[in-house]
Chain length 432, copies 2
Amino acid sequence: MGINLNNFLNYKNKDQKMGDFQDLDHLDGVSISTTSGNLYNNKRDDLVLFYFRKGANHASLYTQSKLVSENIKWNLKIKNKKIKALLVNTRNANVFTPNGFDGLRVLADDLSNELTELQKKDEDEPEKVRQKDILFACTGTIGERFPTEKIKSSIPDLIKKIKYTQNKYIWIKAAMGIMTTDQKPKLAMEECNIGNRKVKIYGIAKGSGMIFPNMATTLSFIFTDAAISSSVLRTLLKKNITNTFNAITCDGDTSTNDMVSIFATGESKNKFINNFDSSKLKDFNNSLNLVLLNLARRVAADGEGASKFITINTTNCKTEEHAKKISFSIANSPLVKTAIAGEDPNWGRIIMAIGKANVNINRNKISIKFGPYKIVEKGKISNFYNEADVAMYMKNESIDISVDLSQGKKNFTAYTMDLTKKYIDINSDYRS
Amino acid sequence: MGINLNNFLNYKNKDQKMGDFQDLDHLDGVSISTTSGNLYNNKRDDLVLFYFRKGANHASLYTQSKLVSENIKWNLKIKNKKIKALLVNTRNANVFTPNGFDGLRVLADDLSNELTELQKKDEDEPEKVRQKDILFACTGTIGERFPTEKIKSSIPDLIKKIKYTQNKYIWIKAAMGIMTTDQKPKLAMEECNIGNRKVKIYGIAKGSGMIFPNMATTLSFIFTDAAISSSVLRTLLKKNITNTFNAITCDGDTSTNDMVSIFATGESKNKFINNFDSSKLKDFNNSLNLVLLNLARRVAADGEGASKFITINTTNCKTEEHAKKISFSIANSPLVKTAIAGEDPNWGRIIMAIGKANVNINRNKISIKFGPYKIVEKGKISNFYNEADVAMYMKNESIDISVDLSQGKKNFTAYTMDLTKKYIDINSDYRS
């Protein structure tokens, strides 16, 4: 079902087994548990707990929406460098809820007590888990009463199911447990070195409506066993979000709940990194970018109703901002997206979208390609343009659009999907 | 078929006969002719000529796209105050055409000669018609060779069919002759006074994809028999476009060809107005606004695939820009538009769209209504909110959404339509 991105992505770790996605296994210091709180009134897992038994350094980036969810307000108050747990619920976005913030306080109180008990039971040097050691992520419908009691009554089950050793199945369960209208779980991983230590970077994400950057776009959680300070994690995340999660769009709509977080357990025992400029970070930095980009592309490819994955590469602009504006003007255009759904090489709509991007254009320098096919060269229809060839190309599952302005040296690549009747089906269904 | 806007619009001239729109009749100094140039390979009228036998003062506003059509480039070079003709073709947008500008030159040459002959034949004081007395409007597909020869060979027929006296049928033919994917012709009229002279304001317009303001949005031509200078016409048009054609959106896409023009023949013989501040203009100014608003709403209501007409009224903002940003953030949100198509009172998506508009919001002051139904009052779900009532309201053909920020005194109203599967059908059809 849907698009198998593995046909189009380049992985650094080629030896990683892959079906529809890479296989994640054990990551020291991360414990996962999932359960059904019956939030959807069925038995699907809708609650996922990530527990860091020895704590984890962390950093998070949030939506730029001016109306944010109650859990984001909660998280923004958390100032400690190490946290102990992240609880994710689906079905309810905890936005415009009369009881949502108080609900989180109730859950934090309960969960911190339960985890403190678990520490006493399992750890050599047990630590008290406090409310402020817990982060929350919420996703689902806006404006419905937050189901505090349902979630609270599931906490004992979550605690009971905590596994200290992970395998690919528990990661898939976690990735499925955070889904809403997603068709597929989204997982990615890389391994790299910090000094002579091998470290892992694992990540999961969910989409799949209300996807447009302005920062985080969707929920994504990255886990590593590297030993890196929270402030360096924050710099790494900010730097690498620009051309990954901030480069995707499904429908131009921005959620109230977007959140991308990274958690570092330090269990790989590399020499602690608390300086972003450390040369030892280079490999980690590149690998983190690959994991984020892999997940971000999966979110775009699984955008609501997607039948095609679209990459828009705008090059040789005066500024990166110009390249970004043009890429997103194309990526967010319903007319472009419906043409691609119809496998119509209607490049006139690309011209329209370039024109409306509010970037000064020298028409006589523009070149446009669909895949390898030149359509416009230096402002004129290419001599090599053959509509039949391009129409064949449009039948592919992954469509590349290249726009070259020849006005400078800056580039930006955006990722999106086509706009199909299924999008309308999903979103016009009463309260999807 | 579609939405009959007359149920929702208030007309100044209640006595005007109306079926689906008002009846236009004779307007002194405007001659119309329509024909088929076989541009669609069928017999529909696809060419419309407006001929001003004694000339007309005029003003035009054009798309803000950075890649504009060849006819807009032509028109921008025309500096004379009076023009003699406007030729409109459909099917071909004349954008990214290798031969498009030269084609217009050929047509202008031919048409000016033919009209000069007509002047000699019919006028007491014949005037030579020059190339620079002619404006062009084009709409249709981008990037296809401009059909100069087909259009040129239709000019004799257009000349032959020129009628000096108009009636409602020729206006309807003109309004239909400029249509592309529009389902309905769009016509509007008002009568008003300048001094003691009665003057008429008539207008036609076409939509219906690539509709998003940044100025003119679509083709619309306004005709009046008033005697008003071109510079005053320009000021009037600029002033009245803001809350009319610049207040509509269908899909957020901006055309390369948008054009709104006004032509004044002066045949009503009112005392010539060449000062915008003239108190005599007040009635005309109001009536012009009504005609533009009527047409603009018709364009939104007939947006591709529309099943519902949506009015979004954002009030009590700090600036009009804030009110406009919020109104358009809602109007352009695919999630809002699909929810309305599904008759789902999913007000959470309104919250999302307000949040992403990049306007600072005091959550505790927001109020939201769907029609007369209060949903959110001062940041809380209204005590009177009853989802069943609002779900019933959503079954209406015309949906009003009101957002009150209680942060200031500025307002903006935007108009749009819902997003349906039919939009996808229309736009994913190979080369619609």
